[in-house]
Symmetry: C2
Subunit: 483 residues, 2 copies
Amino acid sequence: MAKKKTEKAAATKYKPLTPAIIAEMEKIVGRQYVIHSDAEKLEPFSHDEISEKEYAHMPDCVVRPAAAQEIAEIMKLANREMIAVTPRGAGSGLSGGAVPVFGGIVLLCDRMNKVIEFDKANMTITVEPGLVTNEINEIVRPAGLFYAGYPMSLETCYVGGNVAENAGGGKAVKYGVTARYVLGLEVVTPKGDIVQLGGKLVKDVTGYDLIHLMVGSEGTLGIFTKIILKLMPLPKASVDLLVLFRTPDEAIAAVPEIMTKSGIIPTAIEFMDRLSAHAACKYLNETLDYKDAGAMLLITVDGPDEQQVMQQYEAIGEQCLAAKAIEVYVADNHTTSERVWKVRRNIAEAFKVQSPRQSLEDIVVPIASIPKMVAGLEELSRKHDCQIPCYGHAGDGNLHATPVMNPKWSDQQWHDRLEQILVDMYKLTASLGGTISGEHGIGHKRKKYMPLVCQAAFIDMMRAIKLALDPNCVLNPGKIFDC
Amino acid sequence: MAKKKTEKAAATKYKPLTPAIIAEMEKIVGRQYVIHSDAEKLEPFSHDEISEKEYAHMPDCVVRPAAAQEIAEIMKLANREMIAVTPRGAGSGLSGGAVPVFGGIVLLCDRMNKVIEFDKANMTITVEPGLVTNEINEIVRPAGLFYAGYPMSLETCYVGGNVAENAGGGKAVKYGVTARYVLGLEVVTPKGDIVQLGGKLVKDVTGYDLIHLMVGSEGTLGIFTKIILKLMPLPKASVDLLVLFRTPDEAIAAVPEIMTKSGIIPTAIEFMDRLSAHAACKYLNETLDYKDAGAMLLITVDGPDEQQVMQQYEAIGEQCLAAKAIEVYVADNHTTSERVWKVRRNIAEAFKVQSPRQSLEDIVVPIASIPKMVAGLEELSRKHDCQIPCYGHAGDGNLHATPVMNPKWSDQQWHDRLEQILVDMYKLTASLGGTISGEHGIGHKRKKYMPLVCQAAFIDMMRAIKLALDPNCVLNPGKIFDC
């Protein structure tokens, strides 16, 4: 009840867009780059990749600036007129970060998609926020370099969104997440200042680390207009292992053993529980002998040459067998590699055959707690009469547990049950020392669950920082917490 | 002039410690853990490792709490009574972070030195801030793990200080700096709340990344009472290469080539200019043939076994020779390894023979700009008639350029000249896209130089965040910026 009141109060705080304000925006970015008064054209900007309609909200207008200076002017205008501004990249998010929950302006970064500089000698690339992430690797690969940020959506998502959400992905065990590669930012602040943070510097303790306060702040603290990314040497060889275990316990117990006994940090350690693995294998008519597998690990290693990668995967394979794996399949060429990754990638599709409605979750727990989490999810599944396949990034403890609607339920039943399932799931996660998002973010989808996993004092600190930088709360309001 | 006024205003803001307040503190931590009214006992807490007396300031009292709850009570008391509180670890800092510039309370963390939990399965260790950094590795090594934070002072410094300063060190090229390993913090806020941030989670995007706002904030935003650190698999083999080049340009040009062409990220790439290398070799009576060397690189590689390390150093050695190195010395055992690292470690000592007064600087530039920096430093050296050896972490662009007092100068001359040298050096650094501290921090030593390398808007953002979390500015005031 109290929350509803807050939201209503915040909503009335923001003013409607008048024709005069729209004219002013047209003057800033050019008339053809302002979309308004056309529901059909505005609709695509009312949601991200979450399909549930309850999370959508129409913007009053979409502006497509081409430069930091234009964004600065828009932010000054928004402050003067008390209008909410929601920055947006490719709209590939999974927590509603780019949804304009109070209407107002969607600030679309698609025109700011240039590579500003590829600096081979410093192993950096400077880009605008609207660049598609995967394009970076196309550009830097010939120079023997690669960008190690690797969200699963890298063929469509924008770098700016990756930075705003601190995107994770499939290579985080060895390479870490987006944050590790952000060396510098040009940021338009909520008040409309243009601030340079960091630079082509791999070490920098000159003042507070505002770069990493910005990374993952979900577009609530600033709009990135230049991003300086660190590049890494391109691995010259890579091999995948698909490892079958009898139980999730045995699979997960192997994870730290692999790293501590072999001394190797794999690129990826993906986990699939019995339900996920069997559903995907069945869906793909996979012929490998998976019947006894109660869980699978998909392990990738990469390195500077084939010989070193061979040594690594042999050492890891031995550790897996010592840790009671029942089978280790080696995929050392493109065809076999695709085959094993297909199992991992087709889990969501496999469950769509059973039911079109799923809620892709993003919990993260200490890696040693994964077996308890998996057991707890099986219990929840029985309690709520709903399948909850569990798969994800085991090396990080980041699990995409995904409640799938029981086909017998009505939409309303699904809506009500899901609420209960999520509360139970998040409480269980918290009891295991975990939290509700490892890489997708909070947005407005998970905002109400924050008190389940963090202290009021933590939320108060975030709110104090938000209001210090954005006193009118005009930049992406209604996300993470209410302010 | 304006600055002096601000400092005076701030100084008068804080109130003196009364006997009643001291009695209250004695009640909180126990009488034997409060030091006051004894200049001799207080003096060691008036400075850190900076030897210049102008940076020292006496505390009015030193308190030695044993628990977060005690620290919380002290912070509440300090807010109520308007008393400055300066947290302190081992006092091994190099920027004055632990110096109580407005007197008041030094909050010493030496009694909070316990290992709370070593969690092998999650590859984490949870410690109190007063633990000596090196002790972590003693504890975790038998389990095949190591802590990759590696400040040069690790045998004396405390973990809490490392986190507060975001300490760098000799292994940052491959392993990054302290920040990468901090997964969780328990923080006492300036207002006296106890807040839990993060956990044993290697990925977490649940709200703002306040952990990394705290890391490197130099004790101005919170006092850490529990630190959860990520551990890594212990490398089982390591080799050092000492590589001689004709010029700094050739040495530095080799750095990105090594990484991009061999595909290997070395553990360390240390740089020594002619002046540093020759002085240290001469000081050590080193017999290797260094006469033609205009610069040296000291490169370390480590890995999971000897064979892989051998492959790595051979590939790197070849790249160095292809990049015009005149000689590559391999140190593959403890004795030879010690011999080459001795050259790097004895540079400061070698110059102490010439003059006892030096100013250890900590500039950082994009790696490709190191040759220009080195050339610029040679020019500054001629202009100011003062030797400025330059050495440090080339793989990070972090250079400990160190003006050494001309023995002909008086102390006053040194003082005045150094001021000019530093302004010139920092301006040059800024013009090359660099900044004034890579790992030592700003503290009060470098505060006045901040406007040379960052925008007023950046300082304003830091100040806004500081005041949002510490409205009375009682926690470590006078550091980084004035508030």
